[in-house]
């Protein structure tokens, strides 16, 4: 076995199967479900259709709030007829919203397929509203439309819009890009602090008061692999990305920390010394939790773009054999290090033709299929164990203390099948 830091080609040269057919993936609006929780002072106003509102509601799954911090301004027949008043309508809805929600400091106008097809200019709307509400409220726009974005790309497009609006700065420091659950974020900050990395900034930040600048002395480490556009704009603004595998599992986390440490002149030995207990713990937890996964075959359908880093974790740390790794987009800048550490991946696919891909799943009969919610139960009914991918986006899975949980998420469907003694018909 190669060590995590070792340079090898892994699967970087594997030919990519590119498919274009029916995509069975959510659109970027879905990201709002977790983004609004990571930015408690923000409201996400989708300008779209009843379908968009229904998607958000269905993806949220439960309806708990009196008024969540997201909503849909539903376009009506009258808005479609003449464009001039659509901008006025946005102003009216925003005024009404902001007068009711005094707690809002950041407002995101989110584009959808209908708003883009009718060429409703949300950038213009954001600019106008910004002029009206600054400095109390910051108004930005991004797209979550299904014709431009899939699932997690909504976060990418949101963060890219935030980066574009950031001031320039020469201050040296590290920016961590990618949303994380609080508990994981705290652990990460603690790890970085103990290693000796100071002045860490977070994107997205929890509050607009924590605003910071970007410039040639900014270093960026990514904790989510789906941030291609954010990556590009950060690089354009002079920031220096840290390439590393993603911090999943013990090996991923260690490699990620070491890559950052080395950027700041901190030795790898120091990282080892500081993280030793956590590494041991993580290794033990993964070993325990991944027992049912060892030697099993896994097929990942394209969903969240977490697929490549997870495939690395599953193959390198949990002993799984990869059948196919599918991803909506393959950003080599971001997942190159993970790809390099995957020793063997027979099929690497980008895009999707869901019917053909399901034919491949049926032919391969993997022990575990990682897929979206629309496909999970139908595959289970065909006798195939599945793990729904959306849980991987909502659950704390990064860094050492979650390494065992991450393996456990994949192991649970297999453990469950082993336990059940009554067959489903």
């Amino acid at each position: 076995m190669t060590t995590p830091g070792q340079i090898s080609k892994g699967c970087t040269q594997t030919p990519v199967l590119r498919e274009r057919g029916q995509h069975e993936v959510f659109c970027g609006l879905t990201s709002i479900i977790w983004l609004h929780r990571m930015m408690p002072d923000s409201f996400f106003l989708v300008v779209g259709s009843r379908t968009c509102a229904h998607l958000l509601q269905s993806a949220a799954g439960v309806m708990i709030f009196a008024e969540p911090r997201f909503g849909t301004a539903i376009l009506e027949e009258t808005d479609l007829a003449g464009m001039s008043d659509a901008q006025d309508e946005i102003d009216r809805e925003v005024d009404r919203l902001l007068s009711r929600r005094a707690d809002i400091r950041r407002l995101f106008l989110v584009g959808s397929c209908p708003s883009e097809v009718i060429k409703l200019d949300l950038a213009k709307a954001a600019e106008r509203l910004n002029a009206r509400y600054a400095p109390k409220i910051r108004v930005l726009n991004f797209t979550g439309s299904g014709i431009e974005t899939t699932f997690t790309q909504g976060e990418d497009s949101c963060l890219a819009a935030m980066v574009a609006a950031m001031p320039s700065s020469d201050t040296a420091g590290l920016v961590i890009a990618g949303g994380l659950p609080d508990v994981v974020q705290d652990q990460m900050l603690d790890l970085l602090d103990r290693i000796g990395v100071k002045d860490v900034r977070l994107l997205p930040n929890r509050s607009s008061d924590e605003e910071f600048g970007i410039g040639p002395n900014t270093h960026v480490a990514f904790v989510q692999p789906f941030l291609g556009e954010t990556y590009d704009i950060l690089v354009r603004r002079g920031a220096h990305p840290v390439s590393a595998p993603f911090p999943f599992g013990e090996q991923g986390t260690t490699a990620w920390l070491k890559a950052i440490a080395s950027r700041f002149g901190i030795s790898s030995d120091h990282v080892d010394a500081v993280t030793e207990p956590a590494r041991l713990r993580a290794r033990k937890a993964v070993a325990q939790a991944s027992e049912p996964l060892d030697g099993k075959r896994v097929f990942l359908l394209p969903d969240s773009q977490l697929e490549v880093p997870l495939a690395r974790f599953l193959s390198r740390e949990c002993g799984m054999e990869l059948v196919e790794v599918g991803t909506p987009y393959l950003h080599r800048d971001l997942v190159g290090c993970d790809l390099a550490q995957i020793a063997d991946c027979p099929t690497l696919s980008e895009g999707q033709d869901v019917e053909k891909q399901l034919d491949r799943v049926r032919a391969a009969r993997p022990d575990l299929t990682v897929c979206g919610l629309g496909l999970a139960n139908p595959l289970e009914a065909e006798g195939l164990a599945t793990k729904w991918a959306i849980e991987l986006v909502f659950s704390p899975i990064h860094f050492y203390e979650q390494a065992g949980d991450l393996a456990g998420l994949f192991a649970r469907p297999l453990r469950r099948r082993a336990m059940l003694q009554v067959a489903a018909e």
């Binding site: 809805e93 139960n377 203390e401």
Partner: protein, 502 residues
Amino acid sequence: MKLSVWTYEGPPHVGAMRVATAMNGLHYVLHAPQGDTYADLLFTMIERRNHRPPVTYTTFQARDLGSDTAKLFRDACQAAYERFKPQAMIVGASCTAELIQDDPGGLGAALGLPIPVIPLELPSYQRKENFGADETFLQIVRTLAKPTDRSARVSCNLIGPTALGFRHRDDITEITALLNDMGVEVNVTAPYGATPADITRLGAAHFNVLMYPETGESACRWMERTLDQPYTRTIPIGVGATKDFVEEVAALTGCIPRLDTDRLRLPWYSASVDSTYLTGKRVFIFGDGTHVATATRIAREEMGFEVVGIGCFNREMARPIRALAKDIGVEALISDDYLEVEGRISNLAPELILGTQMERHIGKRLGIPCAVISAPVHVQDFPARYSPQMGVEGANVIFDTWVHPLVMGLEEHLLHMFREDPEFNDAAGPSHHAHGAKQVSDAPDPIGAQIIWLDEAERELRKVPFFVRGKARRNTEAFAEARGDSQISVETLYEAKAHYAR
């Protein structure tokens, strides 16, 4: 433009999906962007269907818009036909495709497939899910159903049940048995479980039973006009309504009105002294028009409640609901604005809400118990057990369901997912009753009394979801004790977590 936070109904193409998914041998080709595939999960997750909905989405992207989205549509139709070999296809556009005006109906027809290709015109920016289901089923029926000889024995069609319907699965069983008891056979149930071939046989029935006007009324009207089939107006939900339904069927068919009430328990349960406390309970009723109207009658005549307000979210039912409200001297609320419904409930301060999953959440916030009587549905509305709303067993189920929140206060929820949001916190608790909610204690066990939790560890522990926090605390203490530690740090907490990792 209208700001919407939660919606009672999806877009009309979701209604069309409810029809397509309910049927067998029918395929729906929907011109739509990839994100619209989310609708599959409504069926596979909420209803736990073990098959994907029979829907092919063209999933066009921005880059296709400049080129040829019409070709994408044609290719998708052709591929769907070849792969699924359906008996008939329905074709249409979602909201986005409606804007690009590719004319799926025309494109589908031009393919010259050897099966009926039925075009759907569902105006996404004007209408909603129930309309979509009703209109889709009408189009299928008017394309496929033909006049035929009536069956030798008295028979009827059950019209209106769809996928994702509120207890449709069990209502079909109940009503089929009830009709069989009267000597009436069911010719075809549709859309639920029907094939396009079955639809061609609809005309053999002597009459139609309109189970759900929301999704079946247009088709029943059409069949009345074109196939000369009368249809029933009474929705057999509740004891009184079920008896009226039996009378109505008898009048239509000349059969003897017969209802087996051996298993009917609602009247006695309601009369028994234990139910005295239900007397005059103030209830607010909200949902789809059909379920609200039937629930209003049950509440007043069979449970002895006082109905303080009613309303429905589907505008198509505004007229009958307004008339009913006038009859019983309350104001009707016709709205699909969730905040407006919440406002009304909070003004009326009822003691019980009979509503949808939306009102269940309103009730939770306001501390008012709620029983669910209508779509929009939730995974809980598809129980494993038999639990119809219609007929004799339906009445029993309704008695239990309505009384349950009053007695116990329901509850469980995925609170943990949202527990850190400013709008919500642990203290609201897992109970349906916001007031007097009891927290499951996660206080230290006596065994851990000598072990000290350091502040930081205590804070970390609070990040653990409340329903497993007690267990996490006990495990950590047991772990620390076994190691002979006297203090628990964050480190200990995670050591213990790793130790117990499964």
